[in-house]
Amino acid sequence: MNPNKRQSWQNSYITILPLVLLFFISISDLTAQNTNKKQTINGTIILDSIWEPTIYMSLIPTFNKMHTMSKSMIVSKSPINSLGQFSINIDYLPKKDHLYRLHISKKDAPEASLIIGGKEENHFFIIANNNSNITVINRDSTLNTVSINGSKQNKHLKEINDIVRFIDSTSFNDTRIKSEFITEALNEKLKRIADTSKHPLISLYALYKSKFDINTPNNQQFQEAFLKKWKNENSTYFKDFRQRYPVKKSSNTISLILLGILFFSLGVAFNHFYNSKTKKKNNKLKSLSIQERKVFNLLKEGKSNKDISEDCNIGISTVKSHVSSIYSKLDIKSRKEVLDIDL
């Protein structure tokens, strides 16, 4: 290689190498920053002075516990500063999505405080995991208008909550007939969300909010299809749902099972009867004398009185006497019945 060329290669190496090193350092820095980045639920909540400036987060283990409050359910809390800002670290949450409730308490109330309905409703629900980054903002001093950003699931959750809130408002404002009509239509809409949603928790949440009643016509069929759709879901939410609403066997299946049991019992009874009859006959065979048994065996071979007389070397009248005795001892009336006896 030309020494000049070699020199220029060396120079370019010297220039490129630090650049490559710098590139890798910056990449590793970025990765480190990403791994250090804390997953949080943060946001701004404007509150009246009646509320304690603290926000609590509770784990809801099953949908049935959505309206249950105890201190043991609270998994985290964060102060709300004078600007209404808060931040809850959620690095330690499970990998899988779970339902959580965020709530605030009044100044004179305990931490474990739940208010349902009205302007003072003090909670809302979110779906989160240890990788979530969620932002919460309320527009006024209530939690009714809270908007949740940062995840698709919570957007869908809000849509469901908006429908439920609309149902409640019709119950508050409209006549009973109108309210019942709207409620029915919107509950059907919630059921459709439950049916079409691809997220298991959203799907189940919508079903619970539709005030799903297993005893309503068509709901049983819906439930079977719903459980089939989520057959691989083993979260506590679905386990609880399956326990609470077990699939009822259809009446056809039950009648088929009953019919099967009936035939099986009949079969067992017949078998028992037949066996006992055969056993009886076998017991009776023991009552035959040696000569009668010999004659009986020849009768079973289909031999005539004459043949038996010759085989046994006895007179025909003696054979007749033996045959008559065999008939009476075995309680039979013909040679055909002799052939039917199993030994």
Binding site: K71, A112, G118
Partner: protein, 166 residues
């Protein structure tokens, strides 16, 4: 004589009005001027209700587990029912369920305080629950509030208002 008659008729009218109001609510502890209730952290409560047709208070003492049903009769011409159930539990559990006159559940909640042993050691963890239910054109008949305590110590206050179209 005339003055005596006046006094007598006033007393009779007053008694009649008192009895009428008492029987129309069909409940005890009725107070038309009491207020909406809430509980302070130490368990005592303040009233701040308005236009009340029923105000009932239940004290749960001695680890109470006795179930109760409170009936609220909704008259034919009632245009609106407002129900407010407010609970403060020191220990044990309490479930409140509200059913309309057709037996359909309208709302419910459960609160769980600290365990009996923890409470006895003075490490109580109180819990508070409240339902604000407001319904227009409510179904006529007996609405039922089911109170289901489980070894509970605490207080429950129930307020209801009915607007009747005359």
């Amino acid at each position: 004589m005339k003055l005596k008659n006046k006094i007598f008729s006033t007393v009779i009218t007053f008694t009649f009005l008192l009895l009428a109001s008492y029987s129309s609510f069909g409940q005890t502890n009725t107070n038309s001027n009491t207020k909406h209730s809430s509980y302070s952290s130490n368990g005592s409560h303040k009233n701040h209700c308005s236009n009340i047709s029923l105000n009932k208070e239940i004290n749960l003492t001695d680890f109470d587990s006795e179930k109760r049903e409170i009936k609220i009769n909704v008259a034919k011409n009632t245009t609106r029912v407002s129900l407010n159930v407010n609970c403060h539990i020191e220990t044990g559990g309490l479930t409140i369920e509200i059913y309309n006159s057709k037996g359909k559940k309208q709302s419910n909640f459960s609160v769980e305080g600290s365990s009996k042993s923890k409470y006895k050691k003075g490490k109580g963890e109180p819990a508070h629950g409240q339902i604000n239910l407001n319904t227009s054109s409510p179904t006529e008949g007996d609405w039922i509030i089911k109170v289901i305590p489980k070894q509970a110590i605490g207080k429950i206050q129930i307020c209801s208002t009915q607007n009747v179209n005359n």
